[in-house]
Amino acid sequence: MWKWLHPYAEPQRAYRLAGKFIPWLSILAILMLLTGTTWGMVFSPTDYQQGDSYRIIFVHVPAASMSMSAYIGMAIAAFIGLVWQIKLADWMAASIAPIGAVITFIALVTGSTWGKPMWGTWWVWDARLTSELVLLFLYLGVISLYASFEDKVLAARAAGILSIVGVINIPIIKYSVDWWNSLHQGSIKMTGKTAMPPDMLVPLVINILGFGVMIGALSLIRFRSEILARNGMRPWVRELALAEGAK
């Protein structure tokens, strides 16, 4: 049943296949982020409580939610790599980690610059903020573990175990605002009396999806470089290197 998948587990095919998706995902990500951001920044109504400071939401929430999704993606790839010993999955996990770290950093900084005018402080050590900071450290841990072994099979195993164990942090981030008292507001409601109006919700959802597509495109670009870096001895990579790398 899974036989048709097998050829894609070959590095050269995966390299080519990833290359086909990259331009489309990139264009889609740019279009979505332009639409969502322009809509949110210019056309969405001003919030009755927070004024225009709430417009930070159109970068903060996409970054924060995608920092968690990217982590889950990385952990799934690491799990596949660890259990079935598929190197391509390990390389995908290694490709996602730096992107996730930057997205998490953006979530923390934009949250901080939103917290200052609304809460009166850049930072509090409450559950939501602290667990998101832990997420950044998890990403940095995965990156440095992967980088610190010369033997990349061993490196991927060490980094993979850390990323799988770190998944425990994801539900803690997600439900922290329900489980503990926090300065941070609760989850956005889609329905009911306190639901977010469509003029704010639609551009927000567009930006969340846009961030997701952008992370997908960047992951594939890094994945391709990672395939090349790990297959430097293969003839097809050597040919490519001598043709392109010599310039």
């Binding site: 992107i99 953006i106 610059t113 960047l218 290197a241 790398g245």
Partner: protein, 68 residues
Amino acid sequence: MQAQFQSVSDFLNMGGYGFYVWLSYGVAYVSLAILIGFTLTRKGRVLKEIAAKAKREQRLAQHRSAKE
């Protein structure tokens, strides 16, 4: 749909929260730009390294066969 701001300076002012709003967007987009920059140039760096290694090995092989 209607623009919420009367002028460009009104837009930049962000109802008095301009500093915080533009600081957050600035940091976000600058970090994204750095990430994208490193991501796009990595392939070239990797290939250059592999090409250098391949050439070195070719030279070594030539040297060896010339000696024999």
